[in-house]
Amino acid sequence: MNAMENTCVSEDLGGYVLVRVCGEVDLSWSQQVRDAILVALGRGGVGVELALVTYIDSSGIAALVEGFQNARGKGKRFALIAASKSVLAVLQLARLDKVFPLFADVEAARAA
């Protein structure tokens, strides 16, 4: 398997921020993902795109949980977008697939 670069990039779509996460999210940099999500929530609703995440550990999941809880506290929208199979497997392990709003693409998340 080719190693994909670990990146987390935010894109402002006008009142809605898309946080694109790529690579393997683990303890070594999951705090960056957490910070990016929390900063994005300061600017509007947030969608976290996870299509290119090949692995996520529980520190990465914790970043998503914290973001979701934070969004709920602020009355903002929060969604996981195009979660990869690897991400879904970990969400399902803790039954979090029944907790997070999951959408296939950013249009569906924004329209919800």
């Binding site: 303890l27 999951s30 692995y55 914290e66 970990v90 392990l93």
Partner: protein
């Protein structure tokens, strides 16, 4: 670490308790992503092998490499790095009785990471959810049943998302439903969190359900390592005795027997 290096390599491992040899030059390899079951009856040496794999005993001879590190000769720093990447669920749980369940599970994260407390709280409670103990974080170990202790111990063992998980007798003392749930969980941990898992058990049903490969130990020797089907079909008499729960016939060496009974330092 090179991905092709086995996560566990044991070569010619000998273990002794006093004058009694427990492991007779054991060779043992576990590759990444594998679920390996170590099976054997009482006194087969499986617990001793596990204690050597964990670095709790030093080999009398031979060597044990975990994640590419020779653990008998590793420095403190190297060993700490290895320990960060392994999780152990002990048979009796080994929870710290003075800490709540939540604090027990959070302990490795507090000891080994600089994560902020909010992340640690979520990660440790997430692991309690995974083992079906969601909401039990404030209980003390003394308030848990045997099955709950076992699950809390597993939650602590996986707190750090270890590469390598050791699980000693997961089914012992559990009711069949909880036992089946744990078997299922072991499979899902491997698939979702890419763990390599070594399970020590004498429960055949559980072993056959979860194992990719089984190592059968008997009186300090590895009788075979193979797939579930290979073990089932093996015509080795001792293995068939184990599978069919036939009592073993103990060989009596008259000289050794009398020596044990009569000599002062037997």
């Amino acid at each position: 670490m090179n991905a092709t290096v086995p996560l566990i390599e044991v070569e010619q491992l000998e273990a002794w308790y006093g004058r009694r040899r427990i492991l007779n030059g054991v060779d043992f390899t576990v590759n990444a992503g594998e679920i390996r079951v170590i099976m054997g009856g009482s006194g087969s040496g499986k617990s001793t092998l596990l204690r050597h794999l964990l670095g709790l005993h030093k080999p009398r001879s031979g060597w044990v490499r975990l994640l590419g590190v020779d653990i008998a000769r590793a420095g403190e720093r190297q060993m700490l790095d290895v320990r960060r990447q392994i999780g152990v669920s002990f048979q009796g749980g080994a929870l710290l009785t003075s800490l709540s369940v939540g604090d027990n599970v959070a302990l490795p994260l507090r000891e080994h990471t600089n994560l902020d407390e909010a992340t640690i709280r979520i990660m440790s409670r997430l692991k309690l959810e995974v083992v079906n103990l969601g909401g039990f974080q404030d209980l003390m170990p003394a308030q848990l049943s045997g099955g709950m202790i076992k699950r809390a111990a597993l939650a602590r063992a996986i707190a750090m998302d270890p590469k390598l998980l050791f699980f000693d007798e997961p089914s012992a003392g559990l009711d069949p439903v909880v036992s089946a749930e744990l078997d299922e969980l072991i499979l899902r941990l491997r698939d979702a969190l890419r763990m390599t898992i070594v399970v020590v058990t004498h429960e055949l049903e559980s072993a056959f359900k979860i194992a990719d490969t089984i190592t059968v130990l008997d009186q300090g020797d590895i009788l075979m390592t193979g797939t579930v089907d290979a073990v089932r079909q093996c015509d080795n008499e001792r293995i068939q005795d184990l599978l069919n729960r036939r009592p073993r016939e103990i060989q009596v060496d008259a000289d050794a027997y009398l020596k044990r009974l009569t000599e002062e330092a037997a």
